[in-house]
């Protein structure tokens, strides 16, 4: 029997387009009520994976179930249980926000009263009430994104799939979208999202799968993945003329509690610690005791970038999360 907490179960899923393999042998589960992220660079296969799960793209190999229903054999049931927020600004320029939602109400077979109640609720949620009766071509990028999200939520889904929800948005809009997503989780909705922003994956996702070259490299919570790399460290650099005191400094540091490892380097020590906040003053104290003048102490906490590099052998992308897309 399947664990009731598992809402999506993916087993050896693969997709080929002619001679090209887009994704290969994917297996993972998504648990009820979590925000699950697929993190990877453009072309890694994130969107292909998502499109198979929302039943618009049939898989070439493997199977997957969503809320216990097979994505191929029971596609129609799956479609009625999920919401989808596509990557493109998939809005009709000539329709108003409200008309978009009315159309989807028809496609999800909701009654008129149900649809209208839902529309009022969603417009309030995404703050589009004032603009609901303007045609979408007058909307800003952020407003179109909000409308997209409202559309994805219209059927009152148990699981919402978001494809690059904040791609190309300014910082304020991005933070607001993050808030909506967290709010959804609080209401018990499971979220599956793709992203190529490390910061977004780190801040928002409960668990994530790093996907690169069409395969999953590692799965875990952001914290687990970062701790997996060895945790926090302090780098102590001492004054050049003090190198003879280095062995004594090392000995002193090693005798401290909460120290996991101490390594010598040409100009000082690399110290792996449990908690930098506690170890930092203790290390300085030791230095004073052995009368060793310090040039500096650097504190380093592994970031998701380091996790990504460690598991894929390359960086996600040259820039920061705010680097310009397209």
């Amino acid at each position: 029997m399947m664990d009731p907490a598992v809402v999506i179960d993916v087993a050896r899923l693969g997709k080929t387009f002619g001679p090209v393999t887009a994704v290969e042998d994917l297996s993972f589960t998504v648990r009820a009520g979590e925000i699950f992220g697929l993190l990877g660079p453009n072309g890694a296969g994130k969107s292909t994976t998502l499109r198979m799960l929302i039943t618009v793209l049939p898989p070439s190999t493997g199977t997957a179930t969503v809320l216990g229903h097979d994505i191929v054999a029971e596609a129609d049931t799956v479609r009625s249980l999920i919401g989808y927020v596509p990557q493109e600004r998939a809005v009709d320029r000539f329709l108003t926000g409200r008309e978009h939602l009315e159309l989807l109400g028809g496609l999800y077979h909701l009654s008129r009263t149900e649809t209208n109640a839902r529309i009022d609720e969603l417009l309030k949620l995404v703050n589009l009430e004032e603009h609901a009766d303007r045609v979408a071509k007058t909307y800003s990028g952020g407003m179109k994104r909000k409308l997209d999200i409202a559309c994805g939520l219209l059927p009152n889904p148990k699981i919402v799939f978001l494809d690059e929800p904040t791609l190309g948005l300014d910082v304020q809009s991005r933070l607001r979208i993050w808030d909506y997503i967290r709010q959804l989780r609080e209401n018990g909705i499971t979220i599956v999202m793709t992203t190529n922003y490390l910061e977004e994956a780190d801040q928002l996702c409960d668990r994530l799968a790093i996907i690169d070259g069409g395969a999953i490299r590692v799965i875990g919570s952001p914290l687990e993945l970062k701790t997996g790399l060895g945790g926090d460290s302090l780098s102590v650099t001492i004054k050049e003329y003090e190198t003879d005191k280095l062995p004594r400094l090392r000995e002193g540091v090693m005798s401290l509690p909460l120290i996991r490892d101490v390594r010598l380097n040409p100009t000082g020590l690399d110290i792996l610690v449990e908690s930098p906040e506690k170890s930092l003053p203790a290390v300085i104290e030791v230095a004073q005791r052995v009368d060793c003048s310090l040039d500096g102490i650097e504190y380093h906490r592994p970031r998701l970038d380091d996790v990504f590099v460690a598991h894929t052998g390359h960086g996600l992308r040259g820039g920061t999360p705010d680097a310009v897309e397209e």
């Binding site: 618009v56 049931t77 493109e88 009709d92 329709l95 008309e99 028809g106 496609l107 077979h109």
Partner: protein, 261 residues
């Protein structure tokens, strides 16, 4: 999937096309007016004196041309019928619709209902304008009904071609160049503007395999000659259109399945 659900989907989708059209009033006016203004009135008046009434076997050039303009309108509307779906495919709207629990065919059906309704209205407007310019329909109101039916049957196949193209092409640039490539030769290599007997031999041969010629040759006698001359032609057009539609719908369904899965 119940019938109520299907009806609800198709209605919601058709409503979308109608709303879009109502937002593009200028474009609507232009599409509606263009065929009668440009072809029927300008072209009709321009060639009035140049045309040889004996060869046309019609009282004047405009009454000869009216049937051709009706069928050209069907051609243009049909071939453009897939354009909106092409844009839906490109901007992700189609995928959004496909992620909802709708029957895959309801998008196609909604598009048909919309294109057919617009085409039907345009045919009526063209015949009314022709009436104002003195063209009297020999077969009267029943003739109009037959013209509408023939127009719809031709439109079904053409719209299928357009949708098949929309689902198959890589970019909308390809789509529009193929449309341009198809539409003008279909008009000139048919009996829309001149009768077959006035064409050079090779053009006659090509026009004979153009389904457009057969459709026009059924519509035209309904306007200028009368039932006796028209009925055998109408029968022939039905046979040709049945084959044409079957081929186009088969190809269209294949392209749709390949694109949507």
């Amino acid at each position: 999937m119940t019938f109520q659900h299907y009806r609800q989907e198709v209605l919601a989708l058709t409503m979308r096309w109608v709303r879009r059209l109502s937002r593009e009033k200028f474009s609507m006016l232009f599409t509606l007016v263009q065929p009668m203004l440009f072809w029927l009135i300008f072209f009709g008046s321009l060639f009035q004196r140049a045309a040889n009434i004996q060869i046309l076997e019609a009282p004047n050039y405009m009454s000869f041309l009216a049937g051709g303009v009706v069928v050209m309108t069907v051609l243009n509307n049909g071939l453009a019928g897939g354009v909106d779906l092409l844009f839906d495919k490109e901007n992700g709207f189609l995928e959004r619709m496909m992620s909802t629990p709708i029957h895959r065919s309801s998008v196609i059906l909604s598009r048909y209902l919309f294109v057919m309704a617009i085409t039907g209205m345009q045919i009526l407007v063209i015949l009314s304008i022709a009436f104002i310019f003195g063209v009297r329909l020999e077969t009267g109101l029943p003739g109009i009904a037959v013209i509408l039916v023939i127009g719809m049957l031709f439109g079904v196949g053409l719209t299928a071609i357009s949708m098949a193209l929309a689902f198959s092409v890589k970019s909308h640039g390809d789509f529009f160049s193929m449309l341009g490539f198809l539409s003008l030769p279909m008009i000139f290599l048919s009996s829309a503007l001149v009768p077959l007997s006035a064409m050079p031999g090779w053009m006659q041969a090509v026009a004979m395999v153009n389904p457009m010629t057969w459709v026009i040759d059924a519509v035209r006698p309904l306007i200028i000659t009368g039932w006796n001359a028209a009925l055998p032609r109408v029968g022939m057009a039905f046979v040709i259109l049945a084959i044409f539609d079957a081929v186009c719908l088969y190809g269209g369904a294949k392209a749709f399945r390949r694109a949507i899965g």
